[in-house]
């Protein structure tokens, strides 16, 4: 076990996988930093410090700094993947799926199917998502609902450094395209990371708190929020299952349904906007498949259906908070 930050877990895993498999290659904007400047390559690593040192170690052939051309970045990842490489493309902000969506949605996600299963596309697209930095409407979004809605993509959202390691390793070794969402506000979070060739299979949620009264399904930054609420309520004798989905595609339906069978109460806590979202997805799943277990209407705690506002007061009012989560738990317990 080693203690490290979430961002270090990203960097170390990429480093180890690049050492292990020479087909692993990385590309993105400023991931080297300093190309074509007096300071030279690595003058500044990636802006999230998740690629520092990779260029020096593996060279420009495998650590490719690109112009600002997100469609070409993801497109190039596609071409690399179809040519037997294992590209890790970085979108500096998840919001930039806007300028590259075709290569994600209509190419990457569809190759295997539309080519009749005769090709694989082992590409990882890493992206920094989420609010909390007052980065305003175009740099703060949570895009996992969008990406989960697209067939052919796997969607991974680690909430701890250990999960970064285990899930990113699985992502890099997976033969399907994987969207790997790293929350900006978690990069500095610290935690223990298992040693060795640690991997976490996709589709296996993590029960981060156990209780009998309410099932809270969540992912990413929101996991910590839910844990705090669960811990507080536990002291009062209210037990919450907190399910950290880890991957939203594939989805661990069993973990969710099993928990709701016991608790009869479901709250989904998620940072993406509510309409046609992960929250509705989980509520719909449970309503369909665990209807008889439900003792109260399922509920969600999400931002409102608006862009992410800039000002501190607005952004914090926008985001789910421990207060709102706690209120939702109390409300669902008080139902009828």
């Amino acid at each position: 076990m080693a203690r490290m930050m979430y961002r270090e877990a990203v960097l170390r895993t990429i480093f180890e996988e690049m050492e292990r498999d020479e087909n692993v290659v990385m590309l993105g904007e400023d991931i080297v930093g300093g190309m074509g400047t007096a300071g030279g390559p690595e003058a500044i690593g990636g802006i999230w410090s998740t690629s520092t040192g990779l260029f020096d170690k593996f060279g420009g052939g495998r650590v490719i700094d690109t112009p600002i051309s997100e469609s070409a970045i993801i497109g190039a990842a596609n071409g690399l993947a179809l040519s037997g490489k294992r590209p890790i493309a970085e979108l500096m902000f998840a919001d930039f799926i806007g300028v590259s969506l075709d290569q994600i949605w209509n190419q990457m996600g569809k190759f295997r199917y539309m080519f009749g299963g005769k090709s694989k596309c082992p590409a990882v697209v890493r992206m920094a998502y989420g609010a909390g930095f007052n980065a305003a409407p175009q740099h703060s979004q949570s895009v996992h609902s969008l990406l989960t809605s697209m067939p052919g993509l796997k969607v991974v959202i680690p909430s701890t450094p250990a999960d970064v390691v285990g899930l990113l390793r699985t992502a890099i070794r997976d033969d399907d395209p994987v969207m790997f969402l790293e929350h900006k506000a978690l990069y500095g979070a610290k935690g223990e990371v298992p040693d060795g060739d640690y991997t976490i299979p996709f589709g296996h949620a993590r029960l981060s708190r156990a209780g009998q009264d309410v099932t809270i399904v969540t992912c990413g930054l929101m996991v910590g929020f839910c844990e705090r609420v669960a811990d507080k309520l536990a002291a009062e004798g209210i037990g919450c299952d907190v399910i950290d989905l880890r991957t939203t595609s594939p989805l661990d339906e069993e973990a969710i349904l099993d928990s709701v069978e016991v608790t009869g109460r479901l709250i989904v806590v998620d940072e993406s906007v509510p309409r046609c979202s992960l929250a509705t997805d989980i509520i719909s799943l449970v309503s369909e498949k665990a209807f008889s277990s439900l003792k109260a209407p399922p509920a969600m705690v999400t931002p409102p259906h608006t862009p992410v506002p800039f000002a501190r007061e607005l952004e914090s009012a926008y985001l789910p908070s421990t207060d709102k989560i706690e209120a939702a738990v109390r409300k669902i317990l008080a139902w009828r």
Binding site: I64, T66, F115, G116, D176
Partner: protein, 323 residues
């Protein structure tokens, strides 16, 4: 450099296979048996074949919505392609892709592509892979005169130049994107090559209805790119004999245009004339190829008609699905 007799025969045969594949599809589509949108490559055969005759399996190409010619020229199996177009479970994509999505990764054919401009960025990635492998492989993006206006194509050209990868952008200027003229849609009065050149690449131009022009131009291009000089672009002036898609009334064509291009700009005729006049091959050689090709196409159609159909369960395979 003089092409061998074998090479000449092979090139002619490839062009002829494409031609007859397309002519036959044109007829079959009218019967309603074939589903979906089909874009025929007929008229442009010299480009696909003149380019791909220089390549082998480790070289990659990526194509467009008008992909049959590139697929055939790059070595996709013709009867299996026909099955795909018929939507058979035995087709190249098990009936899941159809005309616009035929791919054969083992042959270095990274797919026809329904998104105009979708291919060029992917070709850059394949070129990055080729550069990593360091064996002089290349990657080629075929794009039309319409696709050359898509942002993705521009981004791809700049990125190829910046990363100095062995990517080749082959622009097939057939003068139309759907029903719009190239002079209108390409701001440089239809000149694609000089715009590509301004991205910092060496460019070539060739006659896209003359196999020998394409072939010799591509020899230079490939020598240059395989030698590690970075990317290049080529514009070939060519002709599409049919409508944009099957069913297009083609009212945008000039008076007599279709007759004229069939008469004067038919790459097969031009090839036949050149090789027979130069006495490299005689008419009988070519006639024999023609006959063999006709029976290949006939057999392919029969095979496609008889081939297994996909079933409802097949919808759920070849993709991860959750619920």
């Amino acid at each position: 450099m003089q092409l061998s007799r074998d090479a000449l025969l092979r090139s002619y045969r490839q062009m002829k296979v494409i031609r007859e594949f397309e002519e036959r599809l044109h007829t079959e589509i009218m019967t309603g048996e074939i589903a979906g949108f089909t874009h025929l490559y007929c008229g442009q055969e010299a480009v696909a074949v003149g380019v791909c005759e220089h390549l082998d399996n480790v070289d990659k190409i990526i194509s467009t919505h008008r992909g049959h010619g590139h697929c055939i020229a790059k070595g996709c199996d013709v009867p299996t392609m026909m099955k795909e177009i018929w939507g058979s479970a035995e087709g190249t994509c098990k009936g899941k892709g159809g005309s616009m999505h035929i791919a054969d990764i083992d042959q270095g054919m990274l797919g026809a592509n329904g998104i105009v401009g979708g291919g060029a960025p992917i070709a850059v990635g394949a070129a990055m892979a080729a550069k990593m492998d360091g064996q002089g492989k290349v990657s080629i993006a075929f794009s039309g005169d319409g696709a050359c206006n898509q942002g993705t194509t521009f981004e791809a050209m700049n990125m190829a130049v910046v990363t100095k990868v062995p990517a080749i952008f082959v622009f097939e200027n057939n003068h139309y994107s759907e029903h719009t003229g190239v002079d209108y849609a390409v701001g440089t009065s239809g000149d694609i090559a000089s715009r590509a050149e301004a991205f910092g690449m060496k460019v070539w131009r060739g006659n896209g209805v003359d196999f020998f022009s394409v072939y010799e131009t591509m020899r230079e291009v490939l020598d240059y790119v395989r030698a590690g000089n970075g990317p290049a672009a080529v514009e070939f002036d060519t002709e599409r004999f049919f409508g944009h898609f099957e069913g297009d009334p083609q009212r945008y064509r000039g008076e007599g245009e279709l007759d004229r291009i069939r008469e004067q700009r038919d790459c097969l005729k031009i090839f036949r004339e050149k090789v027979t006049q130069a006495k490299l091959l005689d008419g009988a050689d070519l006639d024999a190829v023609d006959a063999e090709v006709m029976s290949l196409i006939e057999a392919s159609v029969e095979g496609a008609r008889a081939a297994a159909r996909p079933t409802a369960e097949d919808v759920l395979t070849d993709v991860y699905i959750s619920y």
